[in-house]
Amino acid sequence: MNIPGEKKTDDIGVESKNLAKPPQIIGLTVNGRQHIFKVGVDIQPNTTLRDLLKERLGLYSPKEMCQGDGSCGSCTVMLDGKPVLSCLTLAVDCDGKSVETVEGIAEAGHPLIDAFRNNYAYQCGYCTSGFIVAAKALLDRNPNPTDEEIVKALSGNICRCGAYAAIISAVREAAERLKGG
């Protein structure tokens, strides 16, 4: 058992990092709905947030283009209002936090959805969820981004079909709509 604040050493006397034991039950809010999971039963300590969302909650949107090394951005979700790579985020670290996926963004009627549609800002759609979440995070913190700021905010996401220019148009249109334009 790990006791917070207690110093521990391993068998050869080296001080180890003080790791808190994962909670036995975690609770998190996903797209406005509360969920509880038993660690070791519903999920494992090494279950990623992406797998929890997909396997336990049936949310399709966090994808796996790079298969878990965090280099494609297609699994991006919002965690307490900030974009994170759900393939590199442990589910147990999300205890007490709020998650938003593109399903939630769409349900909330965010103008990004219409803007992506209007601008044909997708082709196969496999990466699209990650782009929309990253764009939502940008618009939440900066409602009036420049093109350069849009590019920077979306630089961690890969689209092999190459919808980048249309995505910039979509983000600009969504920003205008949020301003009432």
Binding site: G58, K63, M65, C72, C124, N157, C159, G162, A165, I168
Partner: protein
Amino acid sequence: MEVKERRLKKPLRENPYLTFTQWQFPEDPEYRIIGKVVPPKDTDRITGKAPFSRDIKLPGMLYAKWLTSPYAHARVKKVDVSDVKSMPGVYDVLVCGDPDLQVEGSPEGLGVCEEYPWGQCNVKRPDIAFILPCEAVYEGQPVAVAVAAETPEKVDEALKMVKIEWEELPFVIDRDEALKPDAPIAQLFRGQDVNVVDPVAADLHSYVPWVAPGSDKCERGDVGKGLKEADRVIEFEIKVGTNCWGGGGVEPYASVAWIHNSYLDIWFRVQVPWMVPESAAGAPRGITLPIAASLAGVPLDKIHVHIPYTGAGFGGMNWVGNGALPTLLAVVLSKRTGRPVMVLADWSSFSGITEEEEGHYKFKVGFKNDGTVTAVEIWSNASRGHAGLAIPGCEKLFGITTIKNCRCESTVPYINKAPAACYKHGTTETIVLNEVFSQVAAALGKDPMEVALKNDGYFGHPMHPDMDEVKTKQGFPLRDSLKEVIEAGKKAMDWDNKWHPPGAKKLPNGKYHGLGFAWADEWRAGPWLPFASDNPYHAVLYFLEDGTATIKGMRTLIGVHEKTTYCQIVAEEAGLRYEDVELDHEFNEARLMFPAASGGLTWNSVILKELGMKAKRKLLEVASVHFNKRPEELDIKDSIIFERENPENKVTVRDIVSRYKAKFAGGVWATGETVLKGTEMPPTPREVHHWGRQAAFVEVEVDPDTGKVDVKKFVIVNDVGRVINPGSVAGQQYGGVYMGLGRAHTEEIIYDPLTGVKLNDSLTWYHVPTITDIPRLDAIAVETGLGYSAYGNMGVGEDPNCVARAVLRSAVYNAIGKWIDEDPITPFRVLKALGKG
């Protein structure tokens, strides 16, 4: 010919990074829905609700994966899975050599190849792939053992427990090395004592009819005579490296099979779901389902096919190893376990394929001082597409130039890399075509467009006047597509003001300025098949009592706005509202609508146009009873049927369909034969000529200190014949350029020469262009009507990538004044060319 330029309204495709322009012509008809930007149908892709293959979940479903080879070449000596079988949650362990995979005459067990039933897939076929081989011929290959368990995590744990004794074997990853007499044999199972692909087994003739059966070369005229006629002869060579990520799409492959109550349900991600004859020779493609039925022991009428959304394909999806292998393994495991099984092909992203252009090319070109090319001789060892034999130059140099003396020859080796497959088909051919003309233009100090126009033609003939009669007879306008795309592109690039001799312009920032130009034909000029005599493709339209209509026909939704464009055409022709038409792409029984990626709209628009026309005729026939008028006295617009002479006398389609339900019970169906262009022209099967042209113009800055190439501006011009949907066309143009530029200078797989193992098979180290790498792009769609499809339209999927892939070489030459003989054009290679490497 007067050109009417029409610029689309903002903001759809006009921002600092992309401007989309259509060049239309005064005589082009205006349509109600076609050519318009309509709300796309497949918005599930935006809302996160679109299920892709990996999202499928069935009650009791098991998961399965393969072991993958850690070696470039190795054979399994011994497998011990005793610890695996007893693991909790493990349901099945399949080992190579298992009796369920045995096939007479195939030591590696059940194999599939692209065009033949598996009984005919002998080991000499270069495109063969085995479900579970005992010999690994490249690192990352699925091999030796497959495990099915309750969860993907348990599969991973189980695979780690497999004890396997490998026999490491000598390997060869360089194509030149593989052809040397003392080279190690790369793929022992083939039973050959050399690495050369057998041209008879490769059967290139079925793809390129003018290559003689069993030949490894194509020839026209007398190359020796052509070289003697030349004022100058140049020789040069290039070596092209490997790039592969995303060649089969971005979604790692997955397939689900479920054998239950004598039925087989399949969810899969393949390019061609059902067997269809594509080529004029009638070679069947899309063989997965017949084989799956055979393995499952069910007849074809007991297969239910489900085609989830697809994370793109780009051509590599057509390689049977990507789509067919996971599907067939899923069938085998479902049969053995009695459970639905999802096979996860995690290896497919970086180990599914290598791309088609990798190889060594040697050129000898003779030409006149005016730029006329009199002879071309090419030898190469590239394995362009379909994991088999290829002869670069045999398609485009032969098909779209005036060159009378050509010889293109290939000696293709087996090596220890993943099979080379199509990746935006035509990439290799476009590189070869442009290498010839760019080098000739450079040698003569001429503008490359002058040389291109001088040699543009058709199978050794000038386009004008030789092909005018054919064009006229087939109902085409006498347009010069290359001239028109060049005119549009030069203007957009401001070429005449920017063009300069090689290495002649150094900018104030210390960088060299360069311009590049590349061109090609449109590969998908129209449906290829012998429509009139053996057309199996069709779609069905059913009207429903609420006035809506559903197009039924099997088709993979690969990500090119298929639902949207198909519904646009049917709604246009039938007089329906766009929003009243939907596409059911999983309709098994009308499975013959052409389902693949390349030219999907090019092929299907003839079927859809005819379908819409027949639907309209049906509605008017039924409505004529209601109006007590003859059908020709009536018309339909926006789902309202009305009397032409008295438009106020009207009724809705919904009212007619609901009132006369029985009349619509059988639906309407169409094959497209009646609207196909060029059907007047014998012989049968009808030849599809490639009249349409594409061009790329690029402006670069090259840093002589770092070797970095910055693309400052790009102009892509595609003769698409007719724009069906501007949003879709602009997406294909932009996406193709993006992909082509990545493959031209930032994407390359590095192999360890000591082990043959990939060193950068991660998106962290393999640089796919991101949004930060955007150059300014002007995309121009020229609409000449020179395509064979229903509206004179032709494809746009392949070519933006192909010309973008090819154009950077000439731009960097123009900047630094030196050709780079290795490709992709990385900073290291630029510095090497500058004598700094």
